[in-house]
């Protein structure tokens, strides 16, 4: 930090400068004089798309040390021209909101509270249950002997903020597994 000299005293700056009434240059603090946008410290700015409605406004995501520090509209987009609605403008909070969960939570059958469970165990348990449900409820054919090759024991409902690639794999795997009750917000 620069050493403050006598000449930096506001009243001296006021008296010797062009701001005799002491309401401008004379009173700016050192911090003020060093003002820079917080995005100036960003490690990078990543192009993204708003996750709310279907207009598809382009976003720029500024991040620093692996954390999102600001999200704004990208003026490059011919659709949104840099603008965001309140939800898009708040989307940085979708990263940082205090009620966000970042660990697996598990509720056992008839349990009264959440429990901890590590991700790997959870994934394994889900895979086991998937296989069991499929076996238990498999339908080879209908009452007329016509092939069905399906399970009615597994259902899925997706929001419409999951990516095309994600939807593709959900549909691909679940269909191959014989699950047909695969649905989406698009029906609602």
């Amino acid at each position: 930090m620069a050493r403050r000299t006598f000449l930096d005293w506001p009243v001296i700056r006021q008296l010797r400068g062009a701001d005799p009434t002491g309401r401008g240059t004379a009173v700016t603090s050192e911090r003020t004089r060093r003002t820079a946008p917080r995005t100036a410290a960003a490690d990078g700015v990543t192009d993204s798309v708003c996750p709310y409605c279907a207009v598809g406004c382009a976003q720029r995501v500024a991040h620093q040390d692996g954390r999102v520090i600001q999200i704004e509209g990208s003026p490059d987009s011919p659709i949104s021209r840099g603008r965001l609605c309140p939800k898009g403008a708040a989307s940085e909070q979708l990263v940082s909101f205090s009620r966000r969960e970042t660990t697996v939570r598990y509720r056992r059958a008839h349990g009264t509270e959440w429990e901890d469970l590590d991700l790997d165990t959870a994934m394994d348990m889900i895979a086991d249950r998937f296989i069991a449900a499929r076996r238990r409820s498999w339908q080879d054919e209908d009452e007329h002997g016509r092939p069905l090759k399906r399970t009615m024991g597994i259902a899925s409902l997706g929001g419409a903020t999951i990516d095309n690639e994600e939807n593709y794999l959900i549909k691909k795997f679940f269909t191959a597994a014989g699950a047909i009750q695969i649905e989406n917000q698009a029906r609602i």
Partner: protein, 333 residues
């Protein structure tokens, strides 16, 4: 210009080079869709706390109430019936003198002009007076030419920036609150703890706690050549940012255009340098009297009388000094 602001504008009279033009907002409420993106973008950029008690306030779709220490952009919602609309049309017609040259609809953005072709049959008749309307308007700090808050600040915490805006330095402010009563618009407030802080998970402490707080015209964006967060996000460009002089010109043109379309309720607010604050850096196009939007019809900077006051105070002080000097002289005798 009047009062304490010099002839080259408020920034120049505060020690900044006269070359940088004054920057500000033009808020065209006739195309505001009341989405409140400005409120959110402002809070996002400035990391301001949420404001309200998380209850419906009883004011149409407005639940943030008013400008304050935590809310630096505020959207008002006003529902009106036919009678009021007719009154507004009449009062606006009286206010704004036409006589401007006829121009077509103003193209905006990079898309340029109206598509070619025969538009002679375009209906230009004034609209019928609707039975009902819903006004929306985004309010913000006026960044007055003569800013009460700035004039009365005893610590030098508030300064006039090179953009002509009025900015609080929270590292200097001691929270005395003198500025709060000096603002004719009720804009500046001292930030208390806030009710719910969205940033309780963030590492940075709220440095503005306990200090005076209001819109900075995104000073920390302007220094980098960016525009303020609210105008950058405004979906319909109801809020535009730019050089005040050009914005006022745009605003006048827009009023003229609306009057030509029969919407004589349109009028400007803050564009008059002879008003009680010497005009504002934030100019508004309103569709009714300012009071309807919660704006003072005739804002007066409390330091308006300051020069005379200074004069009188100066004379009095000189007199006192003379008396004191005389008494000293007398004592030495």
């Amino acid at each position: 210009m009047s009062l304490l602001a010099g002839p080259d504008g408020p920034a120049a009279s505060s020690g900044w080079s006269a070359e940088g033009p004054r920057k500000g907002f033009f808020t065209d409420t006739s195309i505001c869709i009341g989405c409140k993106a400005c409120e959110v973008a402002c809070k996002e950029w400035n990391h301001n706390p949420v404001d309200g008690p998380m209850e419906i306030l009883g004011s149409s779709y407005d639940n943030t109430g008013e400008l304050g220490a935590n809310t630096w952009r505020h959207v008002a919602f006003v529902e009106q019936g036919r009678e009021r609309i007719e009154e507004a049309r009449e009062s606006g017609r009286r206010l704004v003198s036409l006589g401007m040259p006829g121009i077509g609809p103003k193209p905006s953005g990079p898309r340029g002009a109206v598509p070619a072709g025969d538009l002679s049959s375009t209906d230009r008749t004034p609209p019928d007076t609707p039975e009902f309307r819903w006004l929306m308007s985004s309010d913000v700090c006026k960044h007055c030419t003569n800013a009460g808050c700035l004039d009365v600040c005893p610590t030098g915490a508030i300064f006039r920036s090179e953009f002509g805006s009025v900015v609080v330095q929270e590292d200097v402010c001691n929270g005395c609150g003198t500025c709060v009563s000096a603002c004719p618009f009720g804009v500046i407030q001292r930030r208390d703890d806030g009710t719910v802080s969205p940033h309780d998970e963030r590492e940075a402490p709220d440095e503005r706690r306990g200090t005076a707080s209001k819109c900075t015209l995104c000073y920390d964006r302007l220094v980098d050549g960016e525009q303020p967060a609210c105008s950058a996000t405004c979906p319909t460009q109801s809020i535009t940012f730019g050089e005040t002089e050009e914005l006022v010109e745009d605003a006048r043109e827009r009023v003229a255009d609306l009057h030509r379309r029969g919407m004589t309720e349109a009028r400007l607010y803050g564009a008059n340098p002879r008003d009680g604050v010497g005009g504002t850096g934030s100019v508004f196009l309103l569709l009714d009297e300012p009071e309807v939007y919660g704006l003072p019809p005739d804002p007066q900077v409390p330091t308006k009388a300051l020069p005379q006051l200074y004069l009188r105070t100066g004379l009095a002080a000189a007199g006192m000094a003379a008396v004191a000097a005389l008494s000293f002289l007398g004592a030495r005798r």
